[in-house]
Symmetry: C2
Subunit: 226 residues, 2 copies
DNA sequence: ACAAAAGTGTTAATCTTACACCCATGT
DNA sequence: ACATGGGTGTAAGATTAACACTTTTGT
């Protein structure tokens, strides 16, 4: 058999939620063959690092963003001609950050990173558009059966933010009363004693997600489901 | 950066169900460093084939089994010392066959393939035990929200076989009446006019899964859930 | 006639959905 | 006083869960 000539890369689809909009973290290369084309952060895996480490390193190097949640999404390796004479198989990771960590690294000489609204994503390099699409599907699914929405929000958040997050990402109407009832019934979020007072309208209480509590309840077989 | 020295492989975790037991397809190498150690079917990806093609090829070469269902499971690449000086990252695939296709290839000079009951699987090569574990979790989950159980049964099956499959794999009791009601309510399985008469007990009608119907209903937003 | 496996309905309990008004603040 | 956004409860409907006897065959 011919010697294997395949390179292994990782790519990250990182979502952020801010002011009712969902964003994806993208980078733009200033030089090279893909000059000025947008792409997902990512790159070749080094010999001595795990796949996870590779993603985290690339994210740090290219964007500076610290993520709250990361999981492997899918391995893309079917486009044989993706990069002529240089077959690359890429392990895509799916991640979430909250808006407090949404500040990106200042431009370097070679790279520019930015949050782009999901529905304004241009044609990306390689099969990255497909990756974003799959990642978004995963986000939608996961949101309904795991409490990952909290990883897109600040530590302390208003109930209306959570509600807004769900109805933005799932593209569906949500009944405020039923939603609150259900979320509270899991016993995984707790009231803080802070009241947020901003602009017109009644001030809102801030809540906090209790991850430890969730882990315990999970073990006891409790099922989160929206 | 040092030249990348990573090899890419695929491995397949294939489940079969027969007489109330769940089996995994394993192979045993007769020579080499892993002589007589059991392992999952799999091997290095060739330069000109997709990952899917690679799995199917390896399965054909090593076991001869024709599968009904196949999907990518997870990419394992964290054990850096998995094979000293030869780092291998492996894309694991998860598959199902029905018992009519459960016959394996006769032994070749180098290989022996066999169906081993899930709870009798020995220590396998590399991180293959971990792969089996993850694949089984996937099977359990998927069984509850996608009609993949049918891919483990013959085309025409008794209701009791289906019921037995669910309660074996999910390790839980199932109420026959409620189960039948629910499954039938989806409208995705149909009666055949065949009655199976075997041994003592009332003969049972055979049913058939209508995949086309399921695809249609799926588009209309129907949700399969046990 | 007895053992074995398949087939079948009803009722209570739970969960889900739909729905509208009051509250606390800013202007 | 009016606009804005936050907070709250109830009742009807749908779904799920619990439960036991009859049917058809082989021996």
């Amino acid at each position: 058999m011919k010697l294997q000539n395949i390179r292994l890369a990782v790519d990250a689809i990182i979502f952020g939620f801010s002011e009712g909009n969902l964003y994806v973290l993208l980078i733009q290369q200033k030089f090279g063959t893909n000059k000025l084309q947008w792409a997902l952060p990512g790159g070749l895996v080094q010999n001595e690092e795990t796949l996870n480490e590779a993603v985290l390193r690339e994210l740090a190097e290219e964007t500076g963003v610290k993520i709250n949640y990361l999981e492997q999404l899918y391995t893309f390796g079917d486009k044989l001609d993706r990069d002529h004479r240089n077959r690359v198989v890429s392990v895509a990771y799916f991640g979430l950050v909250d808006s407090s960590k949404i500040i990106v690294k200042p431009d370097t000489d070679a790279l520019h990173a930015e949050w782009i609204a999901l529905d304004e994503i241009p044609k990306l390099a390689f099969d990255h558009n497909q990756m974003v699409k799959l990642a978004f599907q995963r986000l939608q699914n996961k949101l309904t059966y795991q409490p990952i929405g909290f990883d897109l929000l600040p530590k302390e958040f208003q109930f209306s933010e959570l509600e807004n997050l769900y109805c933005t990402i799932l593209h569906r109407e949500i009944d405020r009363r039923n939603f609150r009832k259900k979320i509270l019934s899991f016993g995984i979020i707790e009231e803080t004693d802070k009241i947020l007072l901003k602009g017109a309208g009644r001030p809102s209480r801030l809540f906090r997600f209790n991850k430890k509590k969730y882990r315990e309840l999970e073990k006891e077989g409790i099922i989160f489901e929206i």
